[in-house]
Amino acid sequence: MKNTAVLITSKKLNTQDCYDFVQDASCGGIALFVGTVRNSTKNKAVTLLDFSAYEPMALKEMQKIADLALAKFQIHKIAIHHAVGELQIGDIPVIIAVSSAHRKAAFEACEFAIDTLKETVPIWKKEHFKDGEVWVNSHP
């Protein structure tokens, strides 16, 4: 039985899919982190975000995070899904779901997974504004 699910897709992410994957009778809880596109950055109105990925490598790095989370925390299953393409305000770029017998491990693994994803997984977002666009984190 596979305890990890990683996905990169240009389709709309589905929280229920992630929930259903990790849900299990042996678990006392599920932690679900859902990233959503915010309407502003540094007080500037955002019109949309455009996500792109080095997909084969990004999947490998997401799998590493899932495997490491399983090794590091007392969790049962973990799902990491990320969207690519143009996302509107309120859309979901990322979902992390973790199930565990006891809640603390699920919370910790969920935070570990999103924090690590933001550091290592080769995915980039371009923020679009009314008057221009910018690659997040990339400019000197």
């Binding site: 080095y54 490598m57 990004a58 770029p93 994803l117 933001k118 980039w124 990339s138």
Partner: protein, 80 residues
């Protein structure tokens, strides 16, 4: 020695390409490749910083490249 270069994110916009075949002239360490790239693509200096992946794994400067390696320029990631 011929390698394939991939550019992502801001690097794609700066270089104007997604991927190119590249003839590496100097000895085949990643550090030498980085030096060549900065000379040939000075616009890469407009990225805050970048990592390099070889064959889909992050790599350090002392890595020795082989013919047909796929070398990706990885600007600071911003997923999530």
């Amino acid at each position: 020695m011929k390698i394939k270069l991939l550019f992502f994110g801001i690097a794609t916009d700066l270089v104007g390409e997604n991927s190119i075949f590249y003839e590496l002239k100097s000895a085949a360490s990643l550090l030498n490749l980085k030096k060549e790239l900065m000379l040939n693509y000075p616009k890469l200096k407009n990225i805050k910083d970048f990592a390099i992946a070889v064959n889909e794994e992050y790599a350090e400067d002392d890595l020795v490249l082989k013919e047909n390696d796929v070398v990706a320029i990885i600007p600071p990631v911003s997923g999530g």
